[in-house]
């Protein structure tokens, strides 16, 4: 298993998708800083670090996160089909399941690294726009919130990887991610948003700005989504015919 994880890491070396994902995730803090800077000019209000940090991750959770993270999942899983390496991968003395688990572990690391990167980009932006009320506790809490968003977005990825494997390509899985983002956005203003996996990351950050917290059922829905879809991945890969 460990060697499968190491190999998955090596495969990403010089992969353009790495840069695309980091560039994508950094759009949010930069855009956030520009908006806050504009608001500051307009209303002459001071901006708190708390609002600035939450808003930055909220952009990711609501708008680009699902699509961007899905892109990494389709890349990690889909490339084996598009680059014709799946036959080689499934004829080595490692179980198919351990290869899939290794890929899911890599996606977890990738997801957490992306939100961490977004956090690290947000910090200098906050200094540039001269946000106020910075404290260590706030920073730690905020970092935890970023990581929770990362985990939530990650929990949605096994569905994307399953669709990628079923359709052996990127497009249907990305279309699904796009549709789910749209539905998630539509549901954000409804009571149902705390139960729909694709709107939960967004509503989590929105509620934080209002000083509210998600009910535990939302966390359970995310965990259930992850578990069921991960098991579906493992079942599919055990039974699948590699005939292309």
């Amino acid at each position: 298993m460990l060697r499968a994880i190491q190999v998955e890491l090596k495969k990403l070396k010089k992969a353009p998708m790495i840069w695309i994902s980091f560039l994508g995730v950094s759009i949010s803090p930069i855009l956030n800083a520009l908006i806050f800077y504009y608001l500051k000019q307009l209303f002459k209000d001071s901006i708190t670090w708390e609002a600035f940090l939450i808003q930055s991750i909220s952009f990711i959770a609501v708008f680009i996160g699902i699509l961007l993270f899905s892109l990494t999942a389709t890349y990690v899983f889909g490339r084996e089909y598009t680059e014709n390496t799946i036959k080689t991968l499934f004829t080595i003395p490692l179980s198919r399941e351990s290869i899939i688990i290794a890929k899911l572990v890599i996606l977890l690391l990738w997801s957490l690294t992306l939100v961490l990167f977004a956090f690290l980009i947000t910090i200098p932006m906050g200094f540039i726009i001269r946000a106020s009320d910075l404290s260590l506790t706030l920073m730690i809490n905020s970092l935890i919130q970023y990581l929770i968003v990362g985990l939530m977005l990650y929990a949605l990825l096994p569905i994307v990887s399953l669709v990628t494997m079923l359709t052996r390509g990127y497009i249907p899985a990305m279309a699904l991610a796009g549709i789910m983002t749209m539905i998630g956005l539509i549901l954000l203003n409804s009571d149902f948003s705390i139960y729909f996996p694709w709107s939960i990351p967004g509503i989590y950050t929105i509620q934080l700005t209002q000083g509210e917290y998600l009910p535990s059922s939302s966390y359970m829905i995310m965990a259930g989504t992850f578990l069921i879809s991960s098991i579906a991945n493992l079942t599919y890969v055990r039974l699948a015919d590699i005939d292309k």
């Binding site: 070396k13 390496t85 036959k87 080689t88 004829t91 003395p93 005939d243």
Partner: protein, 304 residues
């Protein structure tokens, strides 16, 4: 002879299409087994079944006299159809990945294998820039990295130029002779199989029409004169004593096949007649593997 790959009534159905029908293959240790068939005959499906890439509809496979498990892959190298590679990585890095996946500790395995398939000078080239032929070589290198006991190759010379084809042929011969690797290779190119195989299986429309040692096939398909005579026993005496012909065989329905002196058919006929042997027919058989293959596959067509 130790059986190393065996299939038992192996079948694979896709919808209503039966891609492979009740296949019973027998590959022995040390064989270079040429799996011959036209495009779409079921060669790749069979290879995928052997490698457990797809599951059979019925029947089963045995590798090394047991049901295949993932540990079998430690003893098998394979190249199935179009070889793939990670385009962002170099040839060497692609092989390094395979080395790690196979759990080989020594990095020397990579340099040795690169050398074996003549890719050392290109080792730093990115896979995205490689020609089909070089990708094919990389695929072969990956299959050979762990010094497998069996090499399963699906159309291994696809995309190679004539020099490349020759090079791969010589390499496979060398692997068979030096490392005693059992090679199972599919092809639709008769010449390729003819020059390499020690055993041949002919598949057509998913059915194994024939499985035969190449020497036996050559013997079967040798050019010969076939005489249908009234008295085979006396004819053999005449052949040996009067014509000094020793290379012949006696078959059913009073036929005798003569494998030498083929240019002297009229003389042989005349002497047989003067010795009171009735010759009802003379036939010159000039079959080669191609004729044999075409005859075999068209028989199936005619009976279909």
């Amino acid at each position: 002879m130790e059986p190393i790959i065996r299939t038992y009534n192996l079948s694979k159905q896709y919808g209503t299409h039966l891609a492979v029908k009740n296949l019973n293959l027998n590959v022995n240790r040390g064989d270079i087994y040429g799996f011959l068939g036209r495009n779409g005959a079921g060669k790749s499906t069979t290879i995928r079944l052997i490698l457990s890439l797809i599951k059979p509809t019925s029947g089963y496979v045995e590798l090394f006299n047991e049901k295949p498990g993932i540990q079998s892959f430690a003893r098998i190298g394979s190249l199935v159809e179009t070889p793939g590679a990670y385009p962002n990585l170099s040839i060497k890095e692609n092989l390094e990945i395979q080395r790690q996946l196979l759990g080989i500790n020594s990095p020397i395995a990579v340099t040795e294998t690169l050398d074996l398939v003549n890719l050392t000078k290109d080792e730093d080239k990115k896979a995205s820039t490689l020609s089909t032929g070089t990708l094919q070589r990389l695929g072969l290198a990956r299959a050979l990295l762990h010094k497998p006991e069996i090499l399963i190759l699906d159309e291994p010379t696809n995309g190679l130029d004539p020099a490349g084809i020759k090079e791969i042929r010589l390499l496979l011969k060398r692997l068979s002779e030096d490392r005693k690797i059992t090679i199972f290779m599919s092809s639709h190119i008769l010449a390729e199989i003819q020059q390499l195989a020690t055993r041949i299986g002919i598949i057509h429309r998913g059915e194994l029409l024939e499985e035969i040692d190449y020497e036996e096939l050559k013997r079967k398909n040798r050019t010969y004169l076939e005489f249908k005579v009234s008295n085979p026993v006396r004819t053999t005496w005449i052949l040996e004593e009067k014509l000094q012909i020793k290379d012949y065989s006696v078959h059913e329905e009073n036929t005798i096949r003569i494998y030498s002196h083929l240019e002297n058919s009229s003389t042989i006929n005349r002497i047989l007649v003067t010795e009171n042997i009735d010759v009802s027919s003379i036939f010159l058989n000039e079959d080669n593997l191609e004729d044999h293959f075409l005859k075999l596959t068209s028989e199936v067509k005619n009976h279909a």
